[in-house]
């Protein structure tokens, strides 16, 4: 666990000093909400449309962040240093995925209130606890797959093209489950309850791809 936490501290410190990914992702999310306002020609959205706008925005912002995840490692040759250290390669993946999860959570601290403020039609019930649960589960899936795809695409010549091309189809099950799960929360006539079925699908997706990612990530670093 120690190498993972050391690498994680490195990731977070790097982001704290450069402030590269998180502010850009947050700004992108807010801008996208404005784009949706004009694109949909609606002052407020609810139900399925609200869930769709929120999740598409968060997914695209995540793709933006995933693009940057390994850039500093490759550019400055820091990856070689990590690979020379006598530690398990899985630690690197875990650190990247946890850091990405933290970035996503930080972005959502800005993006979700902005969504409530700018676009969401006020609803009767209390949607916050349910939304938080879905956000955590979906972020886990996005973080795992995002870190994996980023690791896969970073050492190629067309990195910034390949990350979204690979990541979007792979994350479609997350989008399906997250939008279905949050749709009842955004209904104007009063927030419905969280559909347990879709929460289970999200959890299962996280589990399957978490295991796969840990199993195959080592092969991306075998140089």
């Amino acid at each position: 666990m120690r190498p993972t936490s050391a690498l994680l501290r490195k990731e977070l410190r790097l982001e704290w000093r450069t402030r590269e990914a998180v502010p850009a992702m947050a700004l992108f999310s807010v801008t996208t909400f404005v784009v949706f306002h004009f694109g949909l020609q609606k002052d407020s959205v609810d139900g399925a449309l609200a869930a769709g706008v929120l999740w598409v925005t968060l997914l695209f912002a995540a793709m933006l962040g995933a693009n940057r995840l390994f850039v500093s490692d490759v550019q400055d040759g820091a990856l070689e240093g990590v690979l020379l250290a006598p530690i398990d390669r899985t630690a690197l993946f875990l650190a990247k995925a946890i850091a990405f999860f933290a970035f996503l959570a930080l972005v959502e601290v800005v993006a979700v209130p902005a969504f409530y403020l700018l676009l969401l039609a006020p609803s009767g019930g209390d949607a916050i606890p349910g939304l938080l649960a879905v956000l955590v589960l979906a972020d886990l899936g996005i973080a795992v797959v995002g870190a994996l795809v980023s690791g896969l695409a970073t050492q190629t010549r067309s990195r910034d093209l390949l990350v979204p091309l690979l990541g979007l189809p792979l994350l479609l099950p997350v989008i399906i489950a997250a939008t279905r799960a949050t749709t009842p929360l955004f209904i104007v006539t009063g927030a419905g309850s969280l559909p347990g079925k879709w929460v289970a699908v999200l959890g299962l997706y996280d589990l399957v791809f978490g295991l796969i990612a840990v199993a195959v990530f080592d092969f991306l670093l075998e140089d």
């Binding site: 994996l148 896969l152 695409a153 050492q155 190629t156 010549r157 067309s158 093209l161 390949l162 091309l165 690979l166 189809p169 792979l170 479609l172 099950p173 399906i176 489950a177 279905r180 079925k197 699908v201 997706y205 399957v208 791809f209 796969i212 990612a213 199993a215 195959v216 092969f219 991306l220 075998e222 140089d223």
Partner: protein, 231 residues
């Protein structure tokens, strides 16, 4: 290889002869139901090819033997071509049966499109990596992830639709025995066609590699162009 080719041609001809002359005409759909014998085998073989590519990729990662990478590449490449066929025939069928070129409430069609879009990145990914050893390794990692994604995606899409829309495609559930026979012969023929084409492509790749080696030995200066295919 020759017997395999002949067997493929014979099975496919027999399958479509059966489909047109032996299997009964569908009472509701009529002649347009015949595309079922082309579309469904294409789609099944394509999905099977994607998963086979993933299995070869696992073998490649475990053994490090490049011949498994070649097999994985050829499996996925062929499956992509069959997948295009499946999407086109599915679209034609949808147009004939329901009047639309595309239907979002048919989970099989939608999952197939998503999987196809994912695998369409396989060639660009390979093409973007110059070092052949790394290209093989990364492509195998991709093939493993995508191979696992195939069933997950099917489950998620099927799940999303079952309680909102009734299943529209019910014709395959109550087929008479003659139609099943024709269908299974068509499926066998399509599997044979897939295997034959894979064999041919692998043979072509091997011969090309061999030829390049010989020409290099003759002292010819060969500038190896960048390629998505395994060298």
């Amino acid at each position: 290889m020759r017997t395999l080719s002949i067997l493929t041609v014979v099975t496919l001809v027999a399958a479509y002869a059966l489909a047109f002359f032996y299997a009964p005409m569908d009472a509701v759909e009529g002649i347009r139901q015949k595309i079922f014998y082309l579309h469904v085998p294409l789609a099944l073989v394509s999905l099977g090819g994607f998963v086979t590519g993933g299995v070869f990729a696992v073998q490649h990662l475990r053994t490090g033997d490049r011949k498994h990478d070649l097999r994985s590449y050829v499996s996925i490449h062929m499956a992509l071509i069959f997948g295009i066929g499946a999407l086109l025939t599915g679209s034609i069928w949808a147009r004939a049966a329901w009047g639309h070129w595309w239907l979002w409430d048919e989970p099989l069609l939608v999952s197939f499109l998503i999987i196809f879009l994912l695998y369409a990145c396989y060639q660009p990914l390979r093409f973007a990596i110059e070092d052949p050893e790394r290209q093989a390794r990364y492509a195998s990692v991709f093939a493993v992830i995508a191979g696992v994604f195939v069933p997950v995606n099917f489950a998620a899409v099927r799940f999303a639709q079952e309680n909102t829309h009734p299943r529209t495609l019910s014709s395959s559930h109550n087929l008479p025995g003659e139609a099943w026979l024709a269908f299974f012969v068509a499926l066998a023929g399509m599997v044979l066609l897939y295997i034959t084409l894979c064999r041919y492509e692998m043979a072509a790749k091997r011969v090309r590699g061999h030829l390049r080696k010989l020409r290099r030995r003759l002292g010819e200066d060969i500038v190896a162009g960048r390629s998505a295919a395994p060298q």
